[in-house]
């Protein structure tokens, strides 16, 4: 009898212990079902809406956020291996749902909400580095959307410190962490901070050298080496870039799997040759990429770089042919395509073919709305008319440029080019002498693009226009804002001096005998 009771008790214990894991599995099942339902809700709400409005986006956001509201950490009780594994799986699922929700909050212009969500995911990620990384990527996006570039860059450097790059399974795949350095430099470039760009390049080069110093597997070594060589070229250090390419060539010849590296190596060497002034050798190498690897992504870059080289050499016709070859491709790379189209327009203008040039320039903001060329193209049309001294055409072009910029901002308010668009609107209104509109645009920049160097420039412009219009109070307000929000910059110092002299002037007037 006692034996039967013992067996029964042991059986019950095993059942209860087993059930605790099964309870976790049931929870995981509920989490998966809710995630699937959120995906379904997203598909339903997106139906027939190419660009969902903010209300729809927030509804989708809520559908994904339901998981976090329903399932609370630590998700599963227990301490065994299975419980730990289940907890991690549920945390990953809930975390991914929360990050998806954050993405929609970001699209709905609620970066504050998205930021809180990203921080929450990081807090539940525990040892799940993958989830932590995703949370950090989201945090960077939210900081960028909130116009906090320095904080975003700090987080990005933190990511580079924390997450070692993962060796790829093939040359075609690459760990996202390797794109972070380029992201840092892109942020500095978008800020117009050339000193910052130089500083970050040096730091990024040191980072790449650090990764290479840790003896990574050949594929990762090749990817990092390639990035390092390009960064060295951009930093204007051709000798070091050449040494890096030579090291990569040795690696490629020793590792058969790195045969795919060849177009990258030839292209990089061509750029170095160009940089050191050996233009003929550079052209030959660019052509070698085009002939040997016409489908590689380096083919577009080779066409673009060789086009620019030929343009510099005065061979406009051949340069134009190469630019055309890029944007006439069926699957054009938007980065190379936008630059090629812009350069083709410039070459056409120089060759006296303004009609063709204008057509190309007008197409750029439509074909490549998220590109630097799209920001430059409308103003390039106006500049042509300014040079040609065609007053009425200049006015019409500036008005069209304002419309184009407003359209681009409306398409993507969080775009890195939104600031440049707003600044060009200021320039366009100034060109049209619509001073009040220009001042309104400057006020918008002061709020939306706070902290960026170009905004400091806009405030200077605001102070100048207001003073010229006789509105000294408004001019002083711009200058005061400059001293408060951009302390330590040369323009802030100048603003402080002007304010001081104006105060002295007005004080003197007050004390002067009538």
């Amino acid at each position: 009898m006692r034996r039967s009771i013992s067996i029964l008790l042991a059986g019950t214990l095993v059942f209860v212990v087993g059930c605790s894991d099964l309870g976790g599995m049931a929870t995981r099942y509920r989490v998966e079902r809710m995630f699937w339902q959120a995906q379904r809700e997203e598909a339903r709400l997106r139906l027939d809406k190419a660009r969902p409005d903010s209300t729809t986006l927030l509804k989708i956001h809520d559908a994904y956020a339901r998981l976090r509201a329903t399932f609370r950490p630590p998700f599963v009780k227990g301490t065994g291996d299975t419980s730990t594994r289940l907890r991690a799986e549920i945390a990953r699922q809930v975390g991914m749902a929360e990050l998806t929700s954050a993405r929609f909050a970001l699209q709905a212009r609620r970066p504050d909400v998205a930021q809180e969500q990203a921080k929450w995911v990081a807090s539940v990620a525990e040892a799940d580095t993958g989830l932590h990384r995703e949370a950090d990527f989201m945090l960077v996006s939210t900081l960028q959307a909130q116009r906090k570039p320095d904080e975003a860059i700090a987080v990005m450097y933190g990511m580079l410190d924390r997450y070692r790059p993962i060796p790829p399974s093939g040359y075609g795949s690459e760990d996202r962490i390797l794109s972070v350095p380029d992201g840092i430099i892109a942020i500095r470039e978008a800020m117009g901070d050339s000193a910052g760009v130089r500083r970050e390049r040096a730091r990024v080069i040191a980072y790449y050298r650090g990764v290479l110093g840790s003896s990574p597997p050949p594929l990762l070594q090749a990817q990092v080496g390639g990035r390092l060589a390009r960064m060295l070229i951009e930093a204007g250090r051709p000798a070091e870039a050449f040494a890096e390419v030579a090291a990569l060539r040795r690696l490629a010849s020793a590792t058969p799997a790195l045969g795919m590296l060849q177009p990258d190596l030839i292209y990089t060497e061509a750029r170095i040759r160009e940089m050191v002034g050996d233009e003929q050798a550079a052209l030959e190498l660019f052509d070698l990429v085009l002939m040997t690897y016409p489908d590689s992504r380096y083919a577009s870059n080779s066409l673009l770089d060789s086009g620019a080289l030929l343009e510099r050499k005065g061979n406009r016709k051949e340069a134009l042919d190469r630019y055309r070859a890029i944007y006439d491709r069926p699957n054009v790379d938007p980065d190379a395509g936008s630059i090629a189209a812009f350069r083709a327009a410039m070459v056409n203008d120089q060759m006296g073919k303004w009609v063709e040039a204008k057509q190309i320039l007008e197409r750029i903001p439509i074909q490549y709305p998220r590109s630097r060329a799209a920001v430059e193209a409308p103003f390039a049309i106006a500049e042509h008319y300014i040079r040609a001294r065609e007053g009425e055409a200049t006015k019409a072009a500036l008005l069209r440029a304002v419309d184009a910029y407003r359209g681009m901002i409306a398409q993507d308010t969080a775009s890195v080019y939104a600031t440049a668009c707003r600044w060009n609107i200021v320039r366009a209104y100034a060109g049209l002498q619509r001073w009040n509109d220009a001042l309104t645009a400057i006020d918008q920049m002061a709020i939306l693009d706070r902290g960026l160097p170009v905004t400091a420039q806009a405030l200077v412009e605001g102070a100048r226009i207001s003073y010229a219009l006789g509105n000294r109070a408004r001019s002083d307000a711009y200058l005061r804002r400059l001293t408060l929000e951009y302390p330590g910059t040369p323009v802030a110092e100048a603003a402080r001096q002007i304010l001081k002299s104006r105060e002295a002037e007005s004080g003197g007037k007050r004390n002067a005998p009538k």
Partner: protein, 275 residues
Amino acid sequence: MTSVREAFREFRWFEYRPFAWIMAAQLVFLFLASSLERLWGMVSGGGLMRIMTGEAGVHYPSSYIVLPQAYSLSENFLTLFAGSFLIPLGLVRIQAPMFRTPATGPPAVGRAGRAYLPTIVSAALNLILVLGLAAIFPLGPNRWIHAFLPGTPGDLLSWTAMAVLSYAIAATVLYVPVRAVDPKSTFRYAFVDGIREGVSSLGPTLFIVLLLAWPTLVLLAPVQLRPLLLVRKLRPEMIAILLAIVAILGSFINYLIYSAVARMHWMGRRTPEGP
């Protein structure tokens, strides 16, 4: 056609009940496998799904994608072990008015019990042949069909051909339980002669099977051919609902098939041949 018509006309709940028990077990399995979000569902249905389909069986929505496979396994298991007693019991009740034998009580249960061995052997043989066919089919006929009819029509034709061949195999062993419940049946009389009768009556038997079973085929086709499509376009739970309908419909159809076959056998028995 006469036997089919009679099978419909002479439907009795009492005769059908053993088939209903198999159906009830199938429905219970589907219910448990569709309740994995609850602890008891995960303990019972989750455990079975994990044994039958691996880890995919306890995740959402993959549990519904592999549910047809698990359902098929559970159906085979139930037919093999429970069906080998319950189907003969149903046949004893169906044949009672024809042979003027008792439909209930120990003699009826005893006859069903004695039919267990030949029935389970024939069911196992049926299963082995169908599995063998499923292994060979993709290597030959499936390729030929897809060579001249690619895409979904080819899939459908191939699946239909496979289903018809499976039904043909099933039709040859249908007479084994029918003969096994004869009061003086022996293993040889039930199994060997049953298969012989199945082969000789293959044409009309297959006709009866296809005539009665086509609605389940229509329902099973999307579930087995495009479970992913059902999951994505409709709801994963739709697969469980369709399978439940297949289980209910299939149970009635099985009863009608056995009833019709028993009547055909009875008509043949009127010529002196029995043991």
